[in-house]
Amino acid sequence: MENTSKISIVNLNVAAGKTQILKNINIEIPKNKITVILGPSGCGKTTLLKCLNRLTDLYPELKVSGKVMIDGNDVLEAKEDIYQLRQHMGLLSQRPYPLPMNIYNNVAYALKLKGVKKRRDLHKQVVSYLQQANLWEEVKYRMREPASNLSIGQQQRLCLARGLAVSPDIILADEPTSALDPISSQSIEEKFVELKKDYTIVLVTHVLRQAKRIADYVVFMYLGEVIEQGTNFMIFENPKMEKTKQYLGGTFN
C-alpha cells in the first residue's frame, strides 16, 4: 500500500473467560480508504470493531490485550481521554439505534458533547450534517418528532449524521446495511465511497458483493483469526489461502 496507515492493530487478543474470541490480530488500516473486514458470522468481526473505539469497556467479562494505535495513540491504554478518542471515530451499527430524543437532538447531542454551545451554531451544523447524510429534505419539518418515528432506513441515515457530527476522521460501520432495503443500502454505500476522501472507513460485512463493490483493502477473518489481507484485487482475483478461496467460491463449510 502506497498510503500511510491510520490504524495499526498489533497482537490484539480478546478473550471471554476461557474462549478466545480474537487471536493475535495484526492489521494495518490505510488512511482515506475503505477497509472491509469480511468473514462468516461469529468470526469476531464485530468484537474487532469494538476494540477500535474501546466499546469493549461495556463488557467487563472481556479481556483485551495488545495494541490499537490510532495516529500513534494506543486506544487500549488511554485513561481519561478515551471519551475524546472515541470522538475521532463515528460508529454506525447493524441496526439503527436512535437516542431517546427528537430528531434534532439526536444530532445536536453529539455536537453538544463536542462542545458546541451556541444555539445558532448548533442549528446550522445539525442542518449541515443532516444534508450530508441525505436526510434533511425528508425531516426538515419533523425536527421535533421522536427519532423512533422515522423509518429504519431514515433512522440509519440519522445515525450516520449523528456519527459525522462529532467530526471524526474514522468511520466504523458494523454491517450497516444488513437491516436495510436495497435502495437504502445503495445510498449508504454510495455515501461511503463519497466520504472516503475525508474519512478512513472500516466496514464490517459478510456480504461478498458489497465488499467487492466498495472495498479498497480487504481483511478476511475466520474463527477469530486473520486468514488473509490485501487489496481488493489481491483478495478477490487472486486469493492465496485455501479458506479464502472456499469462502469466495461459496464452498465453505
Partner: protein, 296 residues
C-alpha cells in the same frame, strides 16, 4: 381423536378466554360495589366531605372523621418513597451498568430473600431496632422527645420493605435497554454517567415510573409492619416524630371488635373504600405519566 372438531374446539376455547377476561375485569368493580354497599349506611347519614376532612374520631358518640388516618397514611407512604426511591435508583444503575454480571447474579437471590420476608418480621425488627434508634439517638439529636413509635419509624421500616420490590422491577427495566444504544452514546464521546443520565434513564422512564408506582401502592396498603411501629394514635401528626395512624392499621386493629357500636362496621368498610380509591388514583396518575413518556 377429539370429541369436538377443530372449529368447535376453537369456539369453546375462545368462549373460555372471554369468560376469564370478564371475570378478571369485573373484579375491581365488584370490590368497589361491595365496599360501597357495606359502607352505605355511613355515607348515607353523613356528609362526604365531613367524613374525609373532619379530625374527630369518636365512634362511641357517632363521630367519624377520617382525616387523621388519611394524613397518616399519606405521610408514611410518601416519606417511605422519598427514602427508598434514590437508593433503589442508584443501586439498580450500579448493578446493571457499573459492575460485572457476576455481581448481579449474587445480588439477585439476596434481593429475593429480602422481598420474601413476612411483614411481621419487618415489624418486629422495627420495634427492636428502629424504635430504640429513634427514641435514643435520632430524636435527641434533633432535640425532640419521642417514644420512637412514630411516622418516621413506620416510613423507615416501610422503605426497607419496598426496596427489594422496587429494585427488582428497576433492574429488569434497566436490563431491557439495548446495549447498542449505550454504545451509540459512548461512541459520540459521552461519559458513562452522561450515557446513564441522558440515554438509559430517559429510555426507561416509563418503566421507572411503573416501578415507583407499584412500590407506592404497596407501601400505601402495607398493614402489619406499619401497625406495629406507627404508634396508632388518632391525632394529626405535626412532625415525623409524632405517632400516627394509618387506614390499613385502622381496619386491621378494629375489625371484628366493638362492632356493637352503631355504624362502626360501615365506617371500617368506608376506610377500605378510601384505600381502594386512593390506590386507583395512584394507578391512574402512573398510567398517565407512562403514556406521556412512552414515545421514545
Amino acid at each position: 381423536m377429539y370429541l369436538l372438531n377443530r372449529n368447535q374446539r376453537h369456539r369453546v376455547n375462545y368462549t373460555w378466554m372471554i369468560v376469564s377476561l370478564l371475570l378478571v375485569a369485573s373484579l375491581p368493580f365488584l370490590l368497589f360495589l361491595g365496599l360501597y354497599l357495606k359502607s352505605f349506611l355511613l355515607i348515607h347519614d353523613y356528609n362526604l366531605s365531613d367524613l374525609l376532612f373532619s379530625k374527630e374520631w369518636k365512634p362511641g358518640i357517632g363521630k367519624f372523621g377520617f382525616f387523621p388516618f388519611i394524613v397518616g397514611s399519606i405521610w408514611v407512604t410518601l416519606l417511605a418513597m422519598l427514602l427508598s426511591a434514590p437508593i433503589c435508583l442508584l443501586t439498580a444503575i450500579y448493578v446493571t451498568h457499573y459492575t460485572k454480571k457476576r455481581f448481579l447474579r449474587i445480588m439477585h437471590p439476596a434481593i429475593d430473600i429480602l422481598a420474601g420476608i413476612p411483614s411481621v418480621v419487618y415489624g418486629v425488627w422495627g420495634i427492636l431496632v428502629i424504635i430504640p434508634f429513634i427514641s435514643h439517638y435520632l430524636g435527641p439529636f434533633f432535640g425532640v422527645n419521642t417514644l420512637g413509635y412514630s411516622i418516621l419509624a413506620a416510613a423507615l421500616v416501610l422503605s426497607i420493605m419496598i426496596i427489594p420490590f422496587i429494585l427488582n422491577i428497576l433492574i429488569e427495566v434497566f436490563q431491557a435497554v439495548p446495549i447498542e444504544l449505550e454504545e451509540a452514546a459512548l461512541s459520540l464521546g459521552a461519559t458513562q454517567w452522561q450515557t446513564v443520565k441522558h440515554v438509559v434513564i430517559k429510555k426507561s422512564l416509563p418503566g421507572i415510573i411503573a416501578a415507583f408506582g407499584f412500590g407506592l401502592a404497596r407501601a400505601f396498603g402495607e398493614t402489619m409492619a406499619v401497625l406495629m411501629v406507627v404508634g396508632n394514635v388518632v391525632k394529626l401528626p405535626k412532625s415525623v416524630f409524632d405517632p400516627g395512624y394509618t387506614l390499613p392499621a385502622l381496619i386491621a386493629n378494629n375489625y371484628g371488635e366493638m362492632l356493637s357500636i352503631p355504624r362502626y362496621d360501615s365506617a371500617l368498610m368506608f376506610a377500605a373504600l378510601i384505600l381502594l380509591a386512593v390506590s386507583l388514583f395512584f394507578n391512574l396518575i402512573m398510567h398517565f405519566f407512562i403514556a406521556r413518556y412512552n414515545k421514545y
